[in-house]
């Protein structure tokens, strides 16, 4: 049963076409990875799927709800946005408490303690989010997305700013989420992590999905790694790509 579907999805910003004819489907219990170079349309797609943006054309459905029901979508899912932007003048503890109160989840104190503990933020619980480091702010954002244990997690660059210890810890947690029958949809530039975690991937380039499926399905040759696949799909289609050398 798909938890995310899009058909012929398009989004324009003035003259710029950020998404063109995007069609994909993510099944329940999948760990789905969305890859693409900077400006390919990943964040635009994530924003549509999470009810933050309306498509210009086509259809999108998340947990059975369309972009016309953004509150309904956000209630059912957990989202980590691209930028770590917790509230400036609330402490880490208060931020998580606020999320719990907005989402009307029970056992606020126990949940907050659990996630502060998970990300080793106990000693930072009384520090304003403004005064946390980038990595700590990212941990607070992750905790806010996980705290209500949603059926679907949509994560935009969740590993960014995390040290190797917490990258590993997060990886294990997400694997556990999928093992428990829940779904993860993740955008990432860290191909190594995507290769390790994702059961299926899609590559988006210049607003179009240029490949999608299991890694085995999109490999052209035996042993071709995800990085090679990515380079082939992106650079192969981009005539003016600079092939690893600085442009100009």
């Amino acid at each position: 049963m798909p938890v995310i579907t899009t058909e012929g999805l398009g989004r324009r910003f003035g003259d710029f076409e950020a998404l063109r004819e995007v069609s994909l489907s993510v099944e329940k219990g999948e760990f789905f990875g969305l890859l693409g170079p900077n400006g390919a349309g990943k964040t635009t797609l994530v924003r549509i799927l999470t009810g933050q943006l309306e498509p210009s054309r086509g259809r999108a459905s998340t947990m059975g709800m369309g972009p016309d029901d953004p509150i309904g979508i956000k209630r059912r899912i957990g989202i980590v946005p691209e930028a770590e932007s917790p509230p400036t003048f609330l402490t880490a503890q208060e931020f998580l408490e606020l999320v719990c109160r907005i989402r009307e989840v029970p056992d606020v104190g126990a949940r907050v303690d659990r996630w502060l503990g998970f990300f080793q933020l106990e000693d930072k619980r009384d520090v304003l989010c403004r005064d946390l480091s980038k990595g700590q702010r990212q941990k607070a954002m992750l905790a806010a997305a996980f705290i209500h244990e949603p059926e679907l997690l949509i994560l935009d660059e969740p590993f960014i700013n995390l040290d190797p210890i917490f990258q590993r810890r997060l990886r294990e947690y997400l694997q556990g989420v999928v093992a428990g029958g829940r779904t993860v949809f993740m955008c990432s530039h860290i191909l190594e992590i995507v290769e390790k975690l994702c059961t299926r991937v899609a590559v988006i380039h210049q607003g179009r999905i240029v490949a999608q499926g299991k890694l085995d399905q999109i490999r052209q040759t035996e042993g071709e790694g995800l990085e090679d696949i990515f380079m082939r799909l992106v650079e192969g289609r981009n005539g003016d790509a600079c092939g690893g050398r600085p442009a100009g």
């Binding site: 930028a83 109160r101 304003l128």
Partner: protein, 509 residues
């Protein structure tokens, strides 16, 4: 920096709103200057110059104060490095240098944005008035210097306050003392404090030179005293969200968001500036009008309804600041509607401003003797005894007033087909000495029929009562100084309508 300032203005009120302000100032000053031949028949030119220069000084002070609030809020909104003012945090440049440029930028921006349109409007009216081009140029210099003195003073106060609040309070007290020497003590004349005005009083260029030197001195002192400051040290707060939420439980589903807004406002340090940014100008407006009316004897007819309008205007600015304290980006990924966020901010806005607004309006109503204006809606207010309730339609209100007069034996009343503001007999309310009739501007406030009401001549007398006393005294007209209620004029005398606020109508014996 100028471009940044303009974009900042546009981000608050849009390009049209930002562009409209100087145009409005230009036309306002054009109209005033063009009608100056008429205005100056009743007003002394020195009084006009005083008003203009005091306003320029206050505007300069205000620009400095707003820049302080703006800088604080924008730093929070955009982070520590986005504004050019934050360059010293990352680049090898001293904060004082950037602050000096920032100060110069503010001066240039506001001169272009408001002083030049103001003087430009007067210049455009030269062919229509007796003002000479040389006079306009001189006015530009003196207004500019006055504005710079106000702005320099404000920046100096900010710089001193960053080092020591007590020292800043001492400077503020010294300035207040200087003003007190002019008024009410009258030991100095205004031109001795507002040096550019002194030039107009004495034609001595030394005043202009001294003003320019003082403006430079204040600015230089402000820049030199500015502290090198970067990100403040991290602060810790014991979890207070849930407890605060309980306090706002009356806002039901919004309580968590209201609690968040409240904590952010308090911890950001914006509560003081936002609160004083609302209360300060309110008190300032009243103080200036009171000063001009009581101290200088100017006939400024601003009633409590005008102050109500000011509350709305300044309230809008306060709300605008509230919405700019925190970008709230994280709420984009939470199941919260924009309407809920706006409503939470409105709850906080009302909690912050309502007590101040209420006390302010009641105090001004009491001071001006205009408490009768306070209950909005006229016929439904607590002062409407004897009037029929339940309808706001104009013809019903007229009927109510008609009935009230009849019951008191003052009828018949017939409708007058002239605008009510011109009539001497407008809204009618029962008072301790008979029926109170609001005349002139007051009529509009108590609710009068579209055509106005006319009480037939010879049937009753008009008596000035307490509500109007203060105003009449300030006008100092012979024959308008009642020692207690006394017969004044017959109602057919239309001068009542133009001159009185309230009269008491009595049946003639």
């Amino acid at each position: 920096m100028l471009r940044e300032e303009w974009r900042l203005h546009r981000s608050f009120v849009g390009a049209v709103g930002s562009g409209f302000f100087p145009v409005m100032i230009f036309f306002f000053s054009l109209v005033l200057a063009a009608t100056s031949p008429v205005l100056l028949r009743k007003m002394d030119v020195s009084l006009v110059l005083l008003v203009l220069h005091v306003s320029a000084a206050l505007y300069g002070l205000g620009v400095g104060a707003l820049a302080q609030i703006g800088e604080q809020v924008m730093t929070r909104r955009l982070g520590q490095v986005n504004m050019l003012l934050q360059l010293p945090a990352l680049q090898p440049v001293r904060f004082r240098t950037v602050m000096g440029v920032f100060y110069a930028k503010d001066a240039v921006f506001y001169i272009l944005y408001s002083i030049i349109p103001l003087v430009g409007g007067i210049a455009a009216a030269v062919p229509l008035s007796r003002i000479t081009p040389g006079g306009v140029a001189l006015l530009f210099v003196t207004v500019l210097l006055t504005f710079m003195l106000g702005m320099g003073l404000s920046f100096l106060l900010s710089a001193v306050a960053l080092r020591s609040r007590a020292a800043a309070a001492a400077v503020a007290l010294a300035i207040a003392g200087l003003v007190a020497l002019v008024w009410p003590l009258r030991l100095l004349v205004p031109g001795q404090v507002l040096l550019p005005l002194g030039y107009w009083e004495t034609q001595n260029s030394l005043y202009l030179l001294s003003a320019a030197a003082f403006a430079l001195l204040l600015s230089a002192a402000a820049v030199l005293l500015m502290k090198e400051r970067f990100a403040p040290p991290g602060r810790r707060f014991r979890g207070a969200l849930l407890e605060t939420e309980r306090r706002f439980a009356f806002s039901k589903g919004l309580s968590a968001l209201v609690a968040k807004e409240w904590l952010e406002l308090r911890r950001s340090g914006a509560l003081g500036p936002v609160f004083s940014g609302f209360l300060g100008p309110l008190l300032g407006v009243y103080a200036v009008i009171w000063l001009f009316r009581s101290g200088l004897g100017l006939p400024l007819e601003f009633n409590v309804v005008f102050y109500g309008g000011m509350l709305g205007f300044l309230g809008l600015m306060t709300y605008s600041w509230l919405t700019n304290i925190e970008p709230n980006e994280f709420l984009n990924v939470q199941p919260v509607g924009v309407d809920e966020v706006v409503r939470a901010k409105l709850v906080l806005y009302f909690l912050l401003t309502t007590p101040v607004s209420l006390v302010y309006l009641v105090a001004i109503g009491a001071l001006n003797g205009e408490c009768a204006y306070l209950p909005p809606g006229g016929p439904r207010g607590p002062f409407d005894h004897g009037l029929r309730r339940g309808s706001d339609r104009p013809h019903d209100r007229a009927a109510c007033q008609h009935d009230a007069l009849r019951r008191r034996g003052l009828g018949p009343v017939r409708r007058r087909h002239r605008p009510a503001a011109d009539s001497g007999h407008a809204g009618v309310l029962p008072g301790p000495h008979g029926l109170l009739a609001g005349g002139g501007r007051a009529g509009g406030a108590v609710g009068l029929p579209p055509g106005g009401l006319e009480i037939p001549p010879g049937r009753h007398r008009a008596t000035l009562v307490q509500v109007g006393l203060r105003y009449m005294k300030s006008r100092g007209r012979p024959g308008w100084e009642p020692a207690g209620p006394q017969p004044l004029l017959r109602t057919e005398d239309r001068s009542i309508g133009r001159s009185s606020r309230f009269i008491c109508l009595r049946r003639e014996s």
